[in-house]
């Protein structure tokens, strides 16, 4: 595979881990805003004020004794997702698509008994998936039903769109498709496919899996070249709006497109990964520096999204 020289990386404007942490996360992200994005429950409430929609909240399990109530509630549901409020990197998220007698059917198709779900809830409450091991709450959300145009590319799981938002401007985006290797999760380091999206049009650019370029989805076998995201401008504006609600200068916004409700915010990330650059075949630095150089930033999310679509398509 070989090595790439630092000079080449510089020329490509590749943002690296250390620079991201020192020059962007540490400088533009207020520490006090972190709980807002590290806790999905708080995120939901915060963005709702700014008109950003999220999957419907079904139940919040805060105490061990409330777990029995969960079983009653789950009786009537078809599909739902259990998430630790403070989980990171998709850890601890269990997606249930349906029921088979007494057992629940996971997104992967495997069946698990109710007791296993309850143990999972217990683990979440104890803080197994939370960042610092602190006690957590579990949230139960309605299942997102992805639009078929996107869903067919993904192996199980819901494809989501990661948009890096810098000071309110969407700077880079990618579509994340679950694979067999990623166990239905849309996390790149677990083996999901990342498809870079042209910020100007929402059209796919390149695709990577495990940091290596690919052209076909490894499981569905579909070509990843001509994917186009609908209502692209609306999604960018939605991502830009998250800046107002959290105040985080540098963050990753994860969106899904629901078949019935349109674009929904899944979660926010104060430390978005760097793989998005590989999926796009572009470095983040030229775009980030363009925004840093802006003398008069735009005030409305709409303006910022438009600016990004105009300027960044060519950067």
């Amino acid at each position: 595979m070989g090595w790439i020289s630092p000079r080449t990386l510089n020329r490509l404007g590749m943002l690296n881990m250390n620079r991201r942490n020192v020059d962007y996360i540490a400088r533009y992200n207020e520490r006090s805003s972190y709980p807002l994005v590290d806790n999905k429950l708080k995120t939901k409430l915060a963005v709702a004020e700014y008109g950003v929609r999220t999957p419907r909240l079904l139940q919040v399990v805060r105490q061990q004794h409330e777990i029995s109530g969960f079983r009653q509630m789950a009786e009537d549901l078809g599909g739902f997702a259990i998430k630790p409020a403070k989980g990171s990197g998709g850890k601890g998220i269990t997606v249930i698509t349906g029921r088979d007698n007494d057992e629940y059917v996971k997104a992967s198709g495997s069946r698990i008994p109710a007791s296993s779900l309850e143990r999972h809830l217990t683990n979440i409450l104890a803080g197994l998936y939370s960042l610092a091991g602190t006690p957590d709450v579990a949230i139960v959300e309605s299942l997102v039903e992805s639009v078929p145009t996107l869903a067919r590319y993904s192996f199980q799981g819901v494809p989501d769109i990661r948009i890096v938002v810098f000071r309110g401007y969407p700077v880079m985006a990618m579509l994340r498709l679950a694979t067999k290797a990623s166990d239905g999760k849309a996390n790149l380091h677990q083996g999901a496919v990342g498809v870079g999206l042209d910020i100007g049009t929402g059209q796919s650019l390149n695709a990577v899996q495990f940091n290596k370029p690919i052209t076909l989805h490894p499981d569905t076998g579909l070509a990843l070249e001509n994917i186009e995201i609908e209502a692209w401008g609306e999604m960018l504006e939605m991502a830009a709006r998250c800046y107002e609600s959290t105040g985080l200068g540098y963050m990753g916004v994860d969106l899904v497109v629901d078949a019935h409700e349109g674009p929904l915010l899944l979660e926010l990330n104060a430390r978005p990964g760097l793989a998005i650059q590989m999926a796009n075949g572009r470095g983040l630095l030229p775009r980030l520096r363009t925004i840093e150089r802006l003398k008069r930033p735009h005030f409305t999310p709409q303006e910022r999204a438009n600016y990004a679509m105009e300027v960044f398509a060519s950067l």
Binding site: L12, D23, R27, A126, L128, Q190, M278, G281, R282
Partner: protein, 505 residues
């Protein structure tokens, strides 16, 4: 939000590093703490032996002992004399060792041992009050002879030094004139010289020196002449007029009238034995801490138990530096940020190979047991607690089995921090469930690699020596870690990770 200027930060880091290095250099020069652990320094051990016959009564023996001999520093002093009261007293600007005893009879032997370090930087203190020339009264016909000899010498000289040299030359047997023959006799030569110099207005005195040769016994002192030139006492060889203290000559007596006084005894004599020893430079430095009052800067003042604890603690920054470097610059993933350092600390106590075997076996047995625990549906806290207890069982079991099989190294398992091991097992197990065995291997191997690197760094004898004896060097480590905290360049691992980007260049 404009980016802050980083200049103050860099200046602060520079100051930290400069302070650490300069403090270390200062302590090296001033206290003689060696840079390397094995350095040796010569030390002269000199033993003065005093013999006398006691007159069946109270005895007071008083021996002049050196004080600031030029070219040497006193390291230690010690008297050996059973039954005698002993003390060192300062009297009229000279130091005397005094032995006392109420009822003594027969032949007596007293010892006084001193250790000297050759030190060229040891300087004479300015004598206070300034010495004055004694008034000497001469009888005729000596008075005339003295006057004439002095007048001759004075004529051919300009300074007290040259005056002394000329005078000595006049008094030598081969240049003797009538005048000098009248004055000089075998025994009084040196005293006569001193008297004549004092008469001419130059403060002068006698001194005794000891020629240092390894493993000599029963040596006696050699007489020397000293004059005061207005600034300091200068030493002359009374026979050759050579100025200055010869190398490897220790001036035992300066400025004191007598070498040995014994009250209540006869036939007293002093003889000297000497031995050249080599002492580790570090030991020398620590012995001197006590005497020069700079010991408060050193960990050697602490009780031994605390010292060994600090030895360990002071190694930790090196481990932290290694972890920072590996993670920030190289980009190795580890399980738990500082777990490798704690494991490395345990390795320092167990040595590498037994430690590695013990650690890996504890973790792998623990992982197997954790597999059963996870099926019990326990709360996190009690699962970790149970794991801690299991880890203790495992270590105890390994120790006992190892001991029964004849491996004492089995006992070293107990050096590992149990709680850290329990957490490591827990994290590894979760990682296994969520990310698969591949990630466990990567992070586990990364942790082990960093731990071994940290161990190699921390167990180097030089590292232990420098961190313990120059604690200020930790400021340098702190500075380096702060600098690394500002490193925004690419990690080595990223050069590999981003390789596919070549296609877009």
């Amino acid at each position: 939000m404009t980016p802050r200027s980083r200049l103050p930060f860099y200046i602060a880091v520079f100051l930290l590093i400069a302070a650490g290095i300069s403090l270390a250099i200062w302590r090296h020069i001033e206290l003689g703490i060696p840079w390397l652990s094995g350095e040796q320094r010569p030390v002269w051990m000199i033993e003065a032996r005093v013999d006398f016959d006691a007159n069946s009564g109270a005895v007071l023996a008083s021996l002049n002992v050196p004080e600031n001999p030029p070219g040497f520093r006193i390291l230690s002093e010690q008297a050996a004399s059973p039954g005698y009261g002993f003390s060192i007293i300062e009297k009229n600007g000279s130091r005397r060792a005094e032995w006392t005893k109420r009822n003594v009879s027969g032949r007596q032997t007293l010892y006084f041992k001193t250790q000297f370090i050759p030190d060229d930087s040891a300087i004479d203190r300015q004598p206070t009050p300034e010495p004055k020339a004694r008034k000497i009264f001469w009888e005729e016909p000596q008075a005339t002879a003295v006057r004439e000899v002095l007048a001759q010498a004075e004529e051919r000289s300009s300074t007290p030094e040259s005056m002394t040299r000329e005078l000595i030359r006049f008094m030598q047997p081969d240049t003797r004139t009538q005048n000098t023959t009248l004055l000089v006799s075998e025994e009084n030569y040196l005293d006569l010289l001193v008297d004549m110099l004092n008469h001419s207005g130059i403060p002068a005195r006698t001194a005794d020196g000891l020629k240092l040769e390894d493993a000599r016994r029963r040596q006696s002192l050699m007489p020397f002449l000293q004059i005061f030139n207005g600034e300091q006492w200068l030493t002359f060889d009374p026979n050759t007029a050579e100025q200055g203290v010869p190398e490897s000559l220790l001036l035992w007596r300066q400025g004191s009238a007598s070498l040995l006084d014994v009250v209540g005894g006869d036939n007293s004599e002093v003889s000297f034995s000497m031995l050249r020893q080599t002492v580790p430079a570090l030991q020398l430095a620590t012995m001197e801490f006590d005497s020069n009052g700079l010991g408060f800067l050193s960990f050697y003042e602490l009780p031994i138990e605390e010292q060994s604890m600090f030895r360990m603690l002071l190694l930790l920054p090196l481990g932290a530096l290694m972890v920072a470097f590996m993670r920030i610059v190289i980009g190795i993933r580890t399980s738990g940020t500082f777990m490798p350092v704690l494991i490395a600390v345990a390795f320092v106590q167990t040595t590498l190979v037994p430690g590695l075997i013990a650690f890996l076996s504890v973790v792998s047995i623990g992982l197997m047991m954790r597999g059963y625990l996870s099926s019990l549906n326990l709360l996190l806290v009690s699962r970790i607690s149970a794991l801690i207890i299991l880890v203790i069982f495992i270590t105890a079991g390994l120790s006992i089995i190892g001991y029964q099989m004849g491996f004492n190294t089995g006992m070293t398992v107990t050096f590992f921090p149990m709680v850290i091991i329990a957490w490591t097992i827990e994290r590894m197990s979760i990682l296994w469930e969520e990310e698969g065995a591949h990630e466990v291997l990567i992070q586990g191997a990364g942790s082990m690699f960093v731990a071994i690197c940290a161990y190699l760094l921390m167990s180097a004898p030089l590292a232990g020596h420098l961190t313990f004896n120059f604690p200020e060097l930790h400021l340098v480590i702190l500075g380096l870690i702060l600098l690394m905290g500002q490193y925004t360049g690419y990690k080595l691992s990223e050069l590999k990770r981003f390789t596919p980007m070549k296609a877009y260049d």
